[in-house]
């Protein structure tokens, strides 16, 4: 392992420019408060751009000051050797513990992890345990994590969980600053123009630049007289290189009225203005890479752009990348609802695999049938509003207009046959019209049955997801859930999930929730937290409207007198009105008579009638709506056939 840190490498001796500013500021933050920000910090750059310098500067700063953190610097090779030695000596465990007392671990040359799976596993373990202890890990590599061959996905994501930054090649100004600083350190002075001339050469790295400087220093030491810029260029053989690189025209002797080399100065201006722009693009890319990697997304696409000499269409690329990430986030959110277990899939972290992510989610979607929707039989427009149901209708309209925000949940209560189910399905239709709407509309009985089936088949998760992704949830005959603890529990969780997302919920019940026996208090209080509206016994106006509509439907036209007569008959529900019309039509047809007012009077007042049977079943609307929209009504189905010879008669309420 390395001995004490080389004192030459500190932040003060590190020349900062646009190409490395991000990396330096991140490293400084880490050194100032190890373990609290960017952990692990991963620095990468081509060789000779200052990775090791930066690592050691972190170490030096962290070790200094009052905190005096314990710092250890080692290269990956040293790490591997030490690990192998420890394992060979049967001291594998001890090897792991020895880092527990180190506050800042600096590992250099991490690129050598390539293909070393065993070392990768050990490093992963080390990083995990160190970060858990709040100790800082800083790594340096000559390439980004995703480019290290066969690097464990978990390591990549762990690096990304901290911060991954790169150091670019120094640009003109930085090169000049480095040359000046180094010359100063060496106690040598050159003309400004000489250093400028050397800085013009786009050195690939700092070492190359320092090599040039060394040659100048050596030349100056053995020669009389100061170097000129041209002399320096010739000495370093840069003439051709600089020309080829920057297209700089060598200064022609121009004894012009303007004096000096005006064209070269002009070129300089253009060159530095342009370099600044290219830096701006580069910085934008780097920031995007650092930001998105910091958020755990793979940025290979942007990295590839950065690797090019000239950034290409930066803004467009970054914007497209961001859009792709947004889409991934959407997909991942949907996946959380569909199959929570698969939401962490790495495919949601790689914008280059957006198509794959779409497929994964689509497959999950396909696995789920859409929840039952509102029945086609009940349109919102057909619901007749009068004084007796005005409040309920107004609230329903408000819900349809502002789903999730007007009244949530809306609970419609009322006795059987007053139109609760109609209104519920009507709201369902209105809500379905919204963009991207997915409305679940079903009876509590279906809800119960589906739950039991899901439990039996071990598809409870899928069943839950099916309802958790709806934009509105409408449940009919909630009173059926009384005493059903498990169903109530599921409803409770669903309720909370939907309420958090401001998804509209509507319930119907035979009576106000708090008066229903066997309903959990927590559910009751949640229901009461919305709006509970009652549909009263239909008034005469409503009965007349329904009778008119039914007569028109069955007999072709509606005699106003007949409708008025029927509306005047006692009826506790709209279904009773419908029943009367139905009976009138059937009887009239059977007897070959016209279904007119006289016939009706005779039928309902003349003939002896058995009194309407009180309901003995649980009070429900009695209507079961299939997912396909067909209606099965208990009233409209003959459940028990009378003995032969008996006449089939009477409405079945």
């Amino acid at each position: 392992m390395s001995g004490p840190l080389n004192p030459r490498f500190t932040f003060d001796s590190f020349v900062v420019g646009p190409s490395n500013r991000l990396a330096v500021s991140a490293a400084r933050r880490v050194a100032e408060s190890p373990g609290s920000v960017y952990n692990p910090l991963f620095i990468y750059s081509a060789s000779g751009l200052g990775k090791t310098h930066l690592l050691l500067a972190v170490g030096a700063l962290a070790a200094s000051g009052s905190a005096a953190h314990v710092v250890e610097y080692l290269t990956l090779e040293e790490f591997v050797e030490a690990y192998h030695a420890a394992v060979a000596a049967g001291q594998g465990e001890a090897f792991r513990h020895r880092f527990e007392h180190v506050d800042v671990v600096l590992i250099d040359d991490v690129q050598f992890l390539a293909t070393r799976l065993e070392t990768q596993a050990e490093l992963l373990r080390l990083i995990t345990s160190l970060t858990e202890l709040g100790h800082q890990v800083v790594l340096a590599s000559d390439r980004p994590p995703q480019d290290i061959e066969q690097l464990d996905e978990r390591l990549i994501s762990r690096f990304a969980g901290g911060l991954v930054v790169d150091i670019g090649a120094p640009e003109l100004e930085t090169r000049l600053a480095i040359l000046r600083r180094k010359a100063e350190e060496r106690g040598v002075s050159f003309e400004q123009a000489v250093l400028s001339a050397v800085a013009q050469y786009e050195a690939r790295n700092v070492r190359e630049l320092l090599g040039l400087l060394n040659r100048l220093i050596a030349f100056q030491a053995v020669n009389e007289g100061a170097l000129t810029p041209d002399g320096a260029r010739t000495l370093l053989g840069l003439e051709a290189a600089v020309l080829a690189q920057a297209g700089v025209e060598p200064a022609p002797a121009a004894p012009a009225p303007g004096g000096g080399n005006e064209f070269a100065d002009f070129l300089d201006t253009v060159g530095s203005a342009l370099a600044e722009q290219v830096d701006t693009w580069r910085r934008r890319l780097q920031e995007a890479v650092a930001y998105w990697e910091g958020h755990g997304y793979r940025t290979a696409r942007l990295g590839a752009l950065l690797a090019q000499e000239t950034p290409v269409g930066t803004e467009t690329a970054v914007r497209t990348f961001e859009q792709d990430v947004e889409r991934l986030q959407e997909l991942e959110r949907e996946m959380v609802l569909l199959e929570p277990g698969r939401a962490g899939d790495p495919v949601f972290r790689d914008p280059d695999r957006l198509a794959d992510a779409e497929k994964v989610v689509q497959a999950a979607r396909d696995g789920l049938a859409p929840p039952p929707g509102p029945s086609a039989s009940w349109a919102f427009e057909d619901f007749v509003g009068t004084a007796s149901n005005q409040l309920a209708l107004t609230s329903a309209r408000a819900v349809a207009e502002k789903p999730g925000t007007a009244y949530n949940p809306l609970v419609i209560v009322g006795s059987t046959g007053v139109g609760k189910t109609h209104l519920l399905h009507g709201i369902g239709h209105a809500l379905s019209a919204g963009p991207g709407a997915l409305v679940a509309c079903l009876s509590a009985q279906d809800f119960l049955d589906e739950l039991v089936q899901a439990i039996e088949r071990g598809r409870l998760e899928q069943w839950r997801s099916r309802y958790r992704r709806v934009t509105a949830f409408l449940l009919d005959d909630m009173q059926l859930l009384a005493q059903k603890q498990r169903s109530q529990e599921e409803l409770f969780h669903l309720f909370n999930a939907l309420l958090t997302q401001q998804r509209q919920m509507v319930f119907t019940a035979s009576a106000a929730p708090r008066t229903l026996d066997g309903l959990d208090d927590r559910l009751v209080s949640r229901m009461e937290g919305g709006l509970v509206v009652e549909i009263g016994v239909p008034d005469r106006e409503l009965r007349a409207a329904v009778a008119t509509r039914e007569l028109a439907g069955r007999l072709g036209d509606a005699d106003p007198d007949l409708a008025a007569y029927l509306a005047g008959r006692p009826a506790a529900s709209l279904r009773a009105v419908t029943g009367m019309v139905q009976r009138l039509a059937t009887e009239a047809e059977a007897q070959g008579a016209a279904a007119d007012l006289a016939f009706a009077r005779d039928l309902f007042e003349g003939a002896r009638e058995s009194a309407p049977q009180p309901a003995t079943r649980p009070r429900t609307s009695g209507v079961v709506v299939a997912a396909t929209g067909g209606v099965r009504s208990r009233e409209k189905v003959i459940w028990r056939w009378p003995a032969v010879g008996d006449r089939l008669l009477e409405e079945m309420i």
Partner: protein
């Protein structure tokens, strides 16, 4: 014209020298032409009448070589200054990345300067360009004339430079201020690059 072509890695800057007749626009270009090494400049196209008035326009292409990875070239144009050539001026102004307004410093030319500035603004506007966002610098030419004939730069700034853009005194015949002006406009044009949406 797109200033930056990322596909071919080219940057082309079209700079138009604008101003009243006889203010020295062509002289600016001729001086620049004389300073640019042979292999960097294209043929200067100059269509002038026998009385040395620009009839159509001057055009000077300059190749700057590869800078920061981009093949960079400048195209300098002048417009005919006389009032009745407005159609040509509009044509030349199309797709300009920057404008140098060459004003005549002579006191008696002040109205012509103002008129030409207004004409510039109107012509830019016609192309949907706001004079406030187009890179623009002013040059007060003929500062070498006797001081009783000309206005000082401060006076000219007061009269013409109400947008507060950079302004340079110049004597284009001797080359004074010519490259300062060119550098200033180039810098302003290039600094706008990163603000524009690259195509």
């Amino acid at each position: 014209m797109s200033l930056v072509n990322f596909t071919t890695r080219e940057i082309t800057c079209k700079i138009v020298y604008y101003g009243p007749g006889r203010s020295g626009k062509t002289t600016n270009l001729q001086y620049i032409y004389g300073r640019v090494p042979d292999d960097r400049r294209g043929r200067m196209v100059s269509l002038a009448t026998h009385t040395d008035r620009t009839l159509f326009f001057d055009f000077l292409p300059i190749e700057l070589g590869t800078i920061s990875g981009f093949t960079t070239r400048f195209q300098l144009y002048t417009v005919p200054g006389q009032v009745y050539y407005n159609a040509t001026r509009k044509l030349v102004l199309q797709g300009a990345d920057g404008v140098v307004f060459v004003g005549d410093s002579q006191a008696r030319q002040l109205d012509e300067n103002l008129e030409s500035l207004q004409n510039l603004q109107a012509n830019l506007l016609e192309q949907g360009l706001d004079v406030r966002v187009v890179p623009l610098v002013l040059q007060y030419n003929k500062q070498d004339l006797p001081s009783d004939l000309i206005l000082t730069t401060a006076e000219l700034d007061e009269q013409l430079n109400f947008r507060g853009v950079p302004s340079y005194p110049a004597a284009a015949v001797s080359g004074q201020g010519v490259f300062e002006t060119l550098r200033a406009i180039s810098e302003r044009v290039l600094r706008k690059l990163s603000q524009e949406t690259p195509t």
